[in-house]
């Protein structure tokens, strides 16, 4: 068991090293990456100028719009990697023909899957830090760190829950035979529901009730709600904002923890099971990889 874990860990490390070599070998790419984060944060700052003197109500999420949206960006970047990328990465190793070679190793099915995601991890996770830094240094974002451990818990839960959904999305490549550039799970969640109802740029209380309910089915909504209450200065821990918070008799943060944990416990094992089932189906159907 320990030997297996050591082997899987060593392989994850060598995957990450390979992806880092590839990522860093294009210097222009690295510069563009840096500027991209800077410009995104700048756009948020410009938007915040519009709202500075308005009577728009961000309650219960404090009073700093830049912080509000920078946190939205952070969850968006994580989601972009964990939810949006697995399908594309699995497609990459299918069309590149390497899935067979990864399986001809002592590794579990999941390690190559995690390993090939490192390119996005390298690309997207540091954006979270950079966004927070740019927001704080250049554009007046302020962060409350009194509840940092709780904030990190929500960060961990959104990482795991989006990864679970990402694996469900990736499994559709083999399970449902979606062999093109996109598939419905990723499109529906990442491009439609997250974009519209997660509240990355605005509090979802401004949305019609039906969209607020729709937003209640994705983990992003609860992570953003909790992170903003905890980190945006002036965040309110008691005022209920999300539909589920009104329905359950708990404090908002507790509801967020319950909802996110429940989602994680459902989608992560489901994602693992579906991905492994997809590989086994491909072994039966002969669609594991494509040579020539």
């Amino acid at each position: 068991m320990m030997q297996q874990l050591r082997r899987e860990w060593a392989s994850l490390m060598v995957f990450s090293k390979r992806e880092y070599i590839i990522w860093s070998s294009y210097r222009v790419n690295a510069w563009m990456w840096f500027l991209d984060v800077l410009f995104n944060t700048t756009i948020v700052f410009m938007l915040s100028l519009l709202t500075r003197d308005s009577t728009l109500d961000f309650a219960p999420y404090g009073n700093n719009y830049v912080t509000f949206v920078v946190l939205g960006f952070c969850v968006h970047y994580i989601s972009w990697t964990n939810l949006g990328d697995p399908f594309r990465r699995v497609a990459r190793i299918y069309w590149g023909g390497t899935m067979d070679l990864y399986l001809l190793s002592p590794l579990s099915y999941l390690t190559p899957f995690m390993g090939i995601m490192f390119r996005s991890v390298i690309d997207d996770y540091p954006r979270v830090i950079l966004s927070l830094l740019f927001g704080g240094i250049f554009f007046g974002a302020a962060y409350s760190v009194n509840q940092l451990p709780l904030g990190l818990l929500f960060l961990a839960l959104i990482l795991l829950s989006t990864l679970g959904i990402g694996m469900i999305s990736a499994s559709s490549f083999y399970l449902l035979n979606f062999k093109q550039n996109t598939e419905p799970v990723r499109f529906l969640l990442q491009d439609v529901i997250v974009a519209l109802a997660a509240g990355i740029y605005y509090p979802i209380t401004v949305l019609p009730e039906s969209l607020q309910i729709l937003g209640g089915f994705i983990p992003h909504t609860y992570a953003l709600d909790a992170l903003r209450r905890l980190i945006v200065p002036g965040g309110d821990f008691t005022t209920k904002a999300l539909p589920l918070q009104h329905w359950l008799p708990f404090a908002p943060i507790t509801t967020d923890i319950v909802a996110l944990t429940a989602m994680t416990l459902v989608v992560l094992p489901l994602g693992v099971w579906m991905y492994v089932s997809g590989i086994e189906k491909a072994r039966r159907k002969g669609t594991l990889t494509r040579w020539q």
Partner: protein, 335 residues
């Protein structure tokens, strides 16, 4: 004591559903009741046309594809239950060297990456990579990008990757298919060397008949998912429904002597037929078909000399593997 085969397949079947339209599909037997034993240290060639089922069979033996029927053991592991153990114990080289080769990493970095993935012991990694780079004449290219070296070298890099861990079985799927003549020749030499020096059992697919003839201890001829024949090239020749023949060119032969010689030649054991062609001295020749030819040729020449016939030249015409392949496929099984 009988030696246990490293691969033993009985009645192995793989069927794919081929979709004709949105609602209709038909089954295709990619591998159809295949029986096959492969022994330690041998080079077995799977010879067949495109779509014959060679790659499907290799993938089932490598644990990458689940059979639909039959039974099989690879290295003692069951092909259904122990597919993970099989996969961890065999190596495979895909038809194109670019599979598994990352052009953003150098030749050496590529091998370093796969050495960890294949769980090569940390202490052995550098040493094994150096050995393989030297063995496959890639040492001077270790810091090159794969894209900057020739296709033949990239194929050698793919072979090096498959040899990082000394697995007892190596599957090579059309290892020379995309190479020029020189590159293909070099790869064939390395395949022979790998088999000789490491004692690795090699199963290779090819549709190059001369490649199978040069490299393989045994050749399995596949067509439409079935193994039509499986034996050494020499035995396949023997089983072929055609006799080896020899043409003996000679000087002018009078009519009476010719009939007499044919009668004597035809009476020799193992001679299937004997004929004479050509009236003019410069074109006169006897043609003898026999099985096996070698055992009768000397007696035939002695018989002709005993009849005072001048022998100018002797030419034997053994069927090539190509003849055997075509004959086997066309007759749906020679043995």
């Amino acid at each position: 004591m009988a030696v246990e085969p490293v691969i033993a397949l009985q009645q192995l079947v793989k069927t794919f559903q081929i979709r004709d339209s949105l609602f209709r599909s038909h089954p295709l037997n990619a591998v159809d009741n295949v029986d096959l034993d492969v022994h330690t240290g041998e080079v077995l060639g799977l010879l067949g046309r495109n779509g014959a089922g060679k790659t499907t069979l290799i993938k089932m033996m490598a644990g990458l594809l689940r059979p639909d029927g039959g039974t099989g053991r690879v290295l003692g592991y069951d092909v259904y239950r122990d597919h993970k153990k099989i996969r961890a114990s065999v190596s495979l080289v895909a038809p194109t060297a670019d599979v598994g080769t990352d052009n953003n990493l150098t030749v050496r970095q590529n091998l370093e990456f796969w050495a960890v993935v294949y769980d090569l012991d940390r202490q052995l990694r550098d040493q094994r990579i150096d050995e393989l780079l030297t063995f496959l004449n890639l040492k001077s290219y270790e810091d090159h990008w794969p894209i900057s070296i020739s296709a033949g070298m990239r194929q050698r890099l793919a072979i090096a990757r498959s040899l990082l861990v000394h697995n007892p079985i190596l599957f090579l799927d059309e290892p020379t298919v995309k190479l020029d003549a020189a590159g293909a020749h070099a790869v064939r030499e390395f395949i022979r060397k790998i088999n000789r020096e490491f004692g690795i059992t090699i199963i290779l697919t090819t549709h190059f008949i001369f490649e199978a003839e040069r490299l393989c201890d045994r050749v399995a001829i596949m067509d439409e998912g079935k193994i039509m024949s499986c034996d050494s090239v020499a035995n396949l020749r023997r089983h072929l429904q055609r006799y080896d023949s020899s043409v003996i060119q000679c000087g002018e032969v009078p009519e009476s002597l010719r009939r007499e010689a044919i009668r004597h030649l035809g009476a020799l054991p193992q001679v299937a037929s004997c004929s004479f062609q050509g009236e003019r001295a410069e074109a006169a020749q006897f043609e003898i078909s026999a099985d096996p030819l070698e055992s009768v040729l000397f007696d035939a020449l002695k018989t002709l000399r005993a009849h005072d016939i001048d022998i100018h030249a002797v030419d034997t015409n053994q069927p090539s593997l190509e003849d055997i392949f075509l004959d086997t496929v066309n007759s749906k099984g020679a043995s």
